[in-house]
């Protein structure tokens, strides 16, 4: 079981508003999945290197030269709100 306060904390980290009912449900569902996940705690993995990526690719960099990219107009055309040639958002006050 996960405490409701912990669910609230994780939701804040994820910038996700949850209703009281969603918090209750999430506490139960996450606990169930975490219980299954906990089976990997039984394995002896101390000497094992972690794998973040299955294929070895090193420094896949291109030359640092300007390339064509989206125009400002194209980049803004799907935005919910635009002002002064930029993305408009509510003020981050409070």
């Amino acid at each position: 079981m996960i405490e409701r306060e912990e669910v609230r904390h994780v939701a804040r980290l994820a910038r996700l508003q949850l209703s009281e009912e969603e918090i209750d449900r999430m506490a139960v569902e996450l606990a169930g999945v975490l219980e299954h996940i906990a089976t990997i705690a039984t394995l002896d993995l101390d000497a094992v290197e972690p794998t973040s990526h299955v294929v070895a690719v090193e420094n896949a960099l291109r030359e640092d030269e300007p390339q064509p990219s989206l125009s400002r107009e194209r980049a803004l055309e799907s935005a919910p709100s635009v002002a002064d040639d930029g993305f408009a958002v509510p003020s981050p006050q409070a």
Binding site: V7, V10, A11, L13, A14, R15, L16, Q17, L18, S19, E22, M26, E29, L30, G32, V33, L34, H36, I37, A38, T39, I40, A41, L43, L45, V48, E49, P50, T51, S52, H53, V54, V55, V57, A60, L61, R62, L70, R74, A75, E77, S78, A79, P80, S81, F87, V89, P90, S91, P92, Q93, A94
Partner: protein, 478 residues
């Protein structure tokens, strides 16, 4: 007309090239079928003829999973948070296939952000299985799989993160290939779990899979830093025997938890492989039973990071009336994401949060190493590993929506290959009655090989396919 619908994609390409079939008529035939779709397989269908095209796939219509960006065409990844989003560019793989001559027929329905195994998590309603419309088509590429099986398209593009091409291919009685990680560019795919996501073909037969896949791979894409040069061209398979081929059957993935009917069809296929000259022996993947647990740490963790971009600022839905910025973010994400996506964002954020990182994410990455080592050991003795693709046949709509873990278990046999980054193909191998009784439904046979073994994998799958002679016609009527 039925003769034309019966043509495989390769058959249609050949007929068009020979001047025996008109590409425009073929497109219109499929366009009308897709537009009249009764499976909810399509979320968008072309409203007219495509621009003229040339190339080896000339005139053969292609359905594309919603999560591939297609310039000027809705690309929503099954999510209300992207409703109506029309990207300013196309995914590299879509560009390659368009350049090879395949016109875009439509965009197919999927689980939201590819999170699911039944396509019931779509923000645009569930997809129905053409074999039995009370059942799911599998997922997350359920729209692509159902559309191919019902002949609403000659072939389709899907993506596979933990089984999302192979499992719906199995449940719909078609072929699905998950490539070697890095073989296909991920540029322009709306990301779920970046270290696992791969695009692949969903087709009626193995030849079509090879034909489409051959145009998806090639030189690495400079716009995807994880993409790789494919070491050789993909050839159309022609193998009719399996002499000298060594197949390993992992005890961990081909026994417990598999429906008896599925197991029977699987074992009958192993018998066929023997009769074609293959040797079939047990092998061990000792860490495979832990793959699902590792996957449900790694994939949600990567997803929680990837989905941070959906914040109501640059594209998609924004909640109205928010007084300040954080409230706009949190309400937009509350309203825009569905239940399963929220669950995985929460799970991933939890696993990455301070104090839990080593216990969850760090351990899961180490399990991933052990699973890759298990496969490497198996491939020292065997050419391929074979398992049932999914533990069961298509289940009824709603049967597993209340229990996330029961849904996740659908990926039990497919997730290990995803974690190891190796290629795997699912081919239909017969029919089995569902556990509760009823008409028999398709069963998938999964064959996995080492990295970049796609040509060998397609060859062996082709030989098996000829011997199985599966009849893929569904009861679906337009």
């Amino acid at each position: 007309m039925n003769d034309i619908l019966a043509l495989s994609a390769a058959g249609a390409a050949k007929a068009i090239a020979a001047g025996e079939l008109d590409g425009g008529e073929l497109f219109e035939l499929y366009r009308e079928r897709a537009a009249a779709d009764r499976l909810n397989a399509f979320v968008w269908v072309a409203d007219g003829p495509p621009p003229p095209s040339d190339g080896p796939l000339r005139g053969v219509p292609l359905a594309v999973k919603d999560l591939f960006c297609t310039e000027g065409v809705p690309s929503q990844s099954g999510s209300r948070i992207l409703e109506g989003y029309r990207p300013p560019y196309s995914a590299t793989v879509v560009e390659r296939l368009t350049a090879a001559g395949a016109p875009l027929l439509g965009k197919t329905n999927q689980d939201e952000f590819a999170m699911g195994s039944s396509t019931e998590n779509s923000g645009f309603g569930p997809v129905l299985n053409p074999w039995d419309r009370t059942r799911v088509p599998g997922g997350s590429s359920g729209g692509s799989a159902a559309a191919v099986a019902a002949r609403l398209t000659p072939w389709a593009l899907g993506t596979d993160t933990g089984g999302s091409i192979r499992q719906p291919a199995a449940l719909c009685g078609i072929v699905g290939l998950k490539p070697t990680y890095g073989a296909v560019s991920r540029y322009g795919m709306i990301a779920f779990a970046s270290s696992l996501d791969q695009a692949g073909p969903l087709t009626r037969d193995v030849t079509d899979a090879a034909l489409l896949y051959g145009r998806m791979v090639g030189a690495r894409d400079p716009r995807d830093s994880t993409s790789l040069d494919f070491p050789e061209p993909i050839v159309l398979p022609a193998r009719t025997e399996l002499a000298g081929v060594r197949i390993g059957v992992p005890v961990e993935l081909a026994g417990e938890g598999i429906e008896p009917g599925v197991l029977a069809a699987f074992e009958a296929t192993l018998e066929l492989a023997r009769s074609l000259g293959a040797s079939v022996e047990q092998c061990a993947l000792p860490h495979a039973p832990h793959a699902l647990a590792a996957y449900y740490v790694l994939a949600p963790a990567e997803a929680s990071s990837n989905l941070a971009r959906f914040d109501g600022v640059r594209y998609g839905y924004r909640a109205s009336g928010a007084g300040e910025l954080t409230e706009m973010y949190t309400r937009t994400r509350h309203d825009g994401f569905g239940a399963e996506v929220k669950r995985r964002i929460m799970l991933g954020t939890y696993a990455l949060s301070s104090g839990y990182y080593d216990a969850f994410y760090g351990r899961a990455q180490r399990v991933r190493t052990k699973i890759a080592e298990d496969f490497a050991a198996a491939f020292a003795r065997f050419d391929f590993v074979a398992t049932p693709t999914a533990p069961g046949v298509a289940f009824e709509l709603g049967a597993k929506t209340a229990d996330p873990l029961a849904m996740y278990l659908n990926d039990f046999c497919t997730v290990p290959m995803s974690l190891a980054g190796i290629p795997a193909i699912s081919i239909p191998c017969g029919l089995a009655e569902p556990p509760g009784g009823g008409p028999a439904l398709p069963v998938g046979f999964q064959l996995a090989g080492s990295a970049f073994s796609e040509n060998a994998l397609l060859g062996a799958a082709f030989a098996l396919e000829q011997a199985i002679a599966f009849d893929g016609s569904t009861p679906y009527e337009a």
